[in-house]
Amino acid sequence: MIVPLPQLLAVSAGLFAIGLFGALTRKNAIGILMSIELILNSANLNLVAFNRIWGEPSGLGQVMALFVIGTAAGGAVVGLALILTIFRHRQTISADEIKLLKG
């Protein structure tokens, strides 16, 4: 199977941009979390694609992508724990209402 690299990279760039947009605009904290997952995936896509090019025997790109998936899981756990906590305190997880700390 032949996949042209630039196009793949373009997809990853698209994912990155969409993720960035979501992170900047979603009102819901979980929405922001999901957008960030998109960014992580775009990076992962890069890693795997480059791994395919370089064909390293150790499979660095793929290993790295696995690490990313692992840390993403950890991140999601932490994020949701924090979101749940704040929801318990404030009954909201809307990012533009969480603004007691400022200045």
């Binding site: 199977m1 032949i2 996949v3 042209p4 690299l5 630039p6 196009q7 990279l9 997809v11 760039a13 698209g14 994912l15 941009a17 969409i18 993720g19 960035l20 947009f21 979501g22 900047l24 009102k27 929405g31 979390l33 999901m34 997952e37 998109l38 992962n44 896509l45 795997v48 694609a49 395919r52 090019i53 370089w54 064909g55 025997p57 150790s58 499979g59 793929q62 290993v63 696995l66 998936i69 692992g70 840390t71 993403a72 899981a73 950890g74 991140g75 999601a76 756990v77 932490v78 949701l80 724990a81 924090l82 979101i83 749940l84 906590t85 929801f87 997880i93 809307s94 990012a95 533009d96």
Partner: protein
């Protein structure tokens, strides 16, 4: 022939079909991503994310990274996304039709994201990407066994650290998220 050399002569019909499939999957992925960030309903956004993640997994398949594709499905779609959906349901904010979808900085964010996306795309498409050795045949995909070996040899340290990370986050998340019963 993998890689991007522009004037590659040997493009067979199979390649063409594969290419069409690739574009389809790529589009699906991006559409899923778009749904993720635009859907008013948070549950639908989660489904969009699932679509995007799934699309990425298929792209991994295109790249002959089968283990990763499986991991993506198992961990990402299976675990992380489930967790997120749980979160959505727990916080009971699935949809709030009265509220605008985006916050007030949507316009400028859109411009910024467009700039980033187009800029990155332009750079990727115009950069001369290096390849280890253009004349040799493309390297074989990394076998699963090699992956496993390198995980417990070369990359043992980050791997172990990752386990510490996961353990720590789980414990910490439980401590934080758990409702406090006894003031320990």
């Amino acid at each position: 022939m993998f890689a991007m050399s522009p004037g590659n002569p040997s493009i067979g019909p199979l390649d063409l079909a594969a290419r069409a499939a690739f574009y389809g999957v790529a589009c699906a992925t991006l559409i899923g991503a778009a749904i993720t960030v635009t859907a008013r309903n948070l549950f639908r956004a989660a489904l969009g994310l699932a679509l995007a993640l799934f699309g990425v997994a298929v792209l991994y398949l295109f790249l002959e990274a089968e283990f990763l594709a499986v991991s993506q499905l198992l961990i990402y779609v299976g675990a992380i996304l489930t967790l997120i959906i749980f979160g959505v349901m727990l916080t009971a904010q699935i949809a709030s039709p009265t509220q605008p979808r985006f916050n007030r900085q949507a316009g400028i964010s859109l411009a910024l994201a467009l700039a980033v996306g187009l800029g990155l795309g332009w750079i990727f498409l115009t950069s001369g990407w290096p390849s280890p050795s253009p004349k040799e045949p493309p390297p074989a995909p990394v076998p699963l066994s090699a992956l496993g070996r390198s995980l417990i040899s070369i990359y043992l340290l980050p791997f172990e650290l990752l386990s510490i990370l996961l353990l720590g986050t789980l414990v910490g998340a439980i401590v934080i998220a758990r409702k406090e019963k006894d003031p320990e």
